[in-house]
């Protein structure tokens, strides 16, 4: 589709003039086909350098996670104790950790654990939290009271503490227990957002119209409410993905997350803290990788929010 008008896109730098001309913002639509919220957001996003940079970073990260062998030929599990905590040597740009493993290859292979946990947990949390929030918001009444009280209960326990207690009740640790633990503590935030969003959309005229035409509850929820209520959830999910990666790393750092046999940034940081004074580089590289990953998702979430909700700029 050719760009019908650049006027429909509000200038990013001045939301106050945007607010003043809000009443007139529907006018340029007569110049061409009106854009939906999504294509409008996509139009904004492609022009946003923050989005482009963070999206490229995330693509690279996914590539590293799926095909780590493209980036290093060294096995992260094959270590030489004689090289323990040594600095960089040719072929080993990040040096060696306490066990004498190559830090660069461990950083590369560690991406997979973080990305897997982040993606699995976020999908699960959006499904479960979204469903619970949608039911509470749509049906209201007793359902809402019950589900909202359950959400309150989960909010009253500090997230990290909750996850640790949950994980400690398992004798065997695997990536699945970590995913389950983070999902258990993560769904309430999505449920709250979804509930609020569904309640605000539920009152719209098009919902009343659909109801008057005799649409069933399921149809109204699926065709009319969800597509219009999902935007805030997507924004929160992007940001939460970063938060979940931090949580996984924190749990692994506390020695209660991923099993020691899995190469992960959190676990490596935990191992490196013993030699912080003598070999700070071992701690530095996985930390930087972890922080950049999280930053990429946070930036992406920020950009997506700006595109979907121009008022907040």
């Amino acid at each position: 589709m050719p760009e019908p008008s650049s006027k429909t896109v509000m200038p990013a730098q001045d939301a106050s003039t945007a607010a003043l001309t809000l009443g007139a913002s529907s006018e340029p639509q007569s110049l061409g086909k009106p854009r939906s919220l999504w294509s409008d957001a996509w139009h904004d996003l492609r022009r946003n350098p923050t989005f482009v940079i963070s999206a490229l970073l995330i693509l690279l990260l996914i590539l590293v996670a799926v095909f780590p062998s493209l980036f290093t030929s060294i096995n992260p599990q094959r270590c030489d104790l004689l090289m323990g905590n040594d600095g960089r040597t040719p072929g080993h740009p990040f040096g060696f950790d306490r066990q004498g493993c190559d830090v660069y290859s461990r950083v590369i292979y560690g991406a997979r654990a973080s990305v897997t946990v982040g993606v699995l947990v976020t999908s699960g949390v959006v499904l479960i939290g979204g469903l619970i929030g949608a039911i509470a918001g749509f049906y209201g009444g007793a359902w809402d009271s019950l589900l909202s009280r359950i959400t309150d209960v989960f909010f009253a326990i500090p997230i990290l503490l909750f996850a640790i207690v949950f994980l400690s009740s398992f004798a065997l640790r695997s990536i699945w227990t970590v995913v389950a633990a983070i999902m258990l503590v993560g769904w309430p935030s999505v449920a709250r957002i979804m509930r609020a969003s569904v309640i605000s959309v539920k009152e719209s005229d098009f919902v009343t119209a659909a109801r008057a035409l005799g649409a069933s509850d399921m149809r109204i929820l699926r065709r009319h409410i969800l597509p219009n209520a999902i935007a805030p959830v997507i924004v929160v999910a992007t940001i939460l993905l970063g938060v979940f990666i931090v949580l996984e790393a924190t749990l692994s750092y506390l020695g209660i997350g991923l099993p020691g046999s899995t190469v992960s940034w959190g676990g490596d940081i935990n191992d490196a803290q013993a030699s912080l004074r003598t070999a700070p580089h071992v701690l530095l590289y996985p930390s930087v990788a972890l922080s950049i990953t999280v930053l990429a998702f946070m930036l992406l979430g920020d950009a997506v929010r700006d595109a979907l909700d121009p008022k907040l700029r």
Partner: protein
């Protein structure tokens, strides 16, 4: 006001019971013999096992165990640790340290976060604002333990400005660095929240009226704009108390502080059920009371909010 507080207190009861029961279930109610989890691979000595069975009414239905335990807590009987010390005594040594740490972190968050957020909001789109937005995003992205190690390494070990680890008594001045680390992420959130809220309110009618009345700029900003913009910030602070307590587990481990976070972490690793449940009970109460206070504070900040 009185009825509102009473209603809120009544609403807290199911949340309190639900949250504590959930933790109780995770610690004691999972399938298998809870003593096996509690005592680890080596197993408890018979005397401890007998004491634990009696203490938790093991063998009876879970809700009776829970009920009996909560009845004990009402009379301040929190049970005993594995080394047969009353949990109350252990907690009374740890709590003051963590309260000092959290208070310092709170002070840092409020007195640095709010002013910087206000300035950023007032200068929206300028250089200062953009650097605040980017800087806070970076802080939020760096996990708390990484911030902890970086600060410990550079400020503690390299520059020697702070003690890298905290001594047993944990006086205020030694807790300074851990408190900065603990409050760092929340500080960034508070800056962003204040900034967004100020930006939203800067064109509000009451601000225009205040300017039109000829009030001095300083008064418009502090009394009218800032006061009304603080509501989301205060909401965040109420929820933040839980995050601070979670963060304390990590921060206290990095700086070797013997507070509640460290105690809790040890207890979880050992499966010391009385300590875990007791600390969680207190944490949940603190969280609920804090959130009630926050709701009452709304009325102070925004005179349009009234509680009947």
């Amino acid at each position: 006001m009185g009825t509102y507080v009473l209603r809120r207190l009544l609403q807290m009861i199911p949340v309190f019971l639900g949250a504590t029961f959930l933790i109780f279930y995770l610690v004691l109610g999972m399938p298998g013999d809870p003593l096996a989890t509690m005592c680890g691979e080596r197993g408890c000595d018979p005397a401890t096992a007998v004491a634990l069975r009696a203490q938790f009414h093991i063998g009876q239905p879970l809700y009776i165990q829970y009920f009996e335990y909560m009845k004990g807590i009402l009379t301040l009987d929190f049970g005993e640790t594995f080394s047969r010390r009353p949990v109350l005594e252990v907690m009374s040594e740890a709590w003051p340290i963590t309260i000092r740490l959290a208070t310092l972190a709170f002070i840092i968050e409020i007195f640095i976060g709010v002013p910087l957020g206000l300035v950023a909001g007032l200068r929206r789109g300028k250089f200062f604002d953009s650097s605040v937005l980017l800087g806070t995003l970076m802080i939020i992205s760096i996990p708390i333990f990484v911030i902890g190690f970086l600060m410990q390494y550079f400020l503690g070990i390299k520059l020697g400005w702070f003690r890298p680890t905290v001594s047993g008594e944990a006086p205020w001045n030694e807790l300074m660095l851990p408190a900065i680390v603990l409050g760092m992420a929340s500080l960034a959130y508070i800056m962003r929240l204040t900034r967004t809220s100020v930006v939203e309110n800067i064109h509000a009618d009451y601000v225009r009226t205040a300017v039109a009345k000829g009030l001095p700029h300083r008064r418009v900003v502090t009394v009218h704009l800032l006061r009304n913009s603080l509501i989301p910030v205060v909401t965040y602070l109420g929820a933040d108390i839980g995050a601070l307590m979670g963060g304390a587990i990590v921060t206290e481990r990095i700086f070797n502080i013997h507070g509640v976070g460290g105690l809790l972490y040890q207890a979880i690793n050992r499966g010391e059920a009385p300590t875990i449940v007791s600390i969680v009970v207190i944490l949940v109460i603190v969280y609920l009371v804090f959130n009630l206070l926050v709701d009452l504070l709304y009325a102070v900040l925004d005179p349009r909010i009234r509680y009947a």
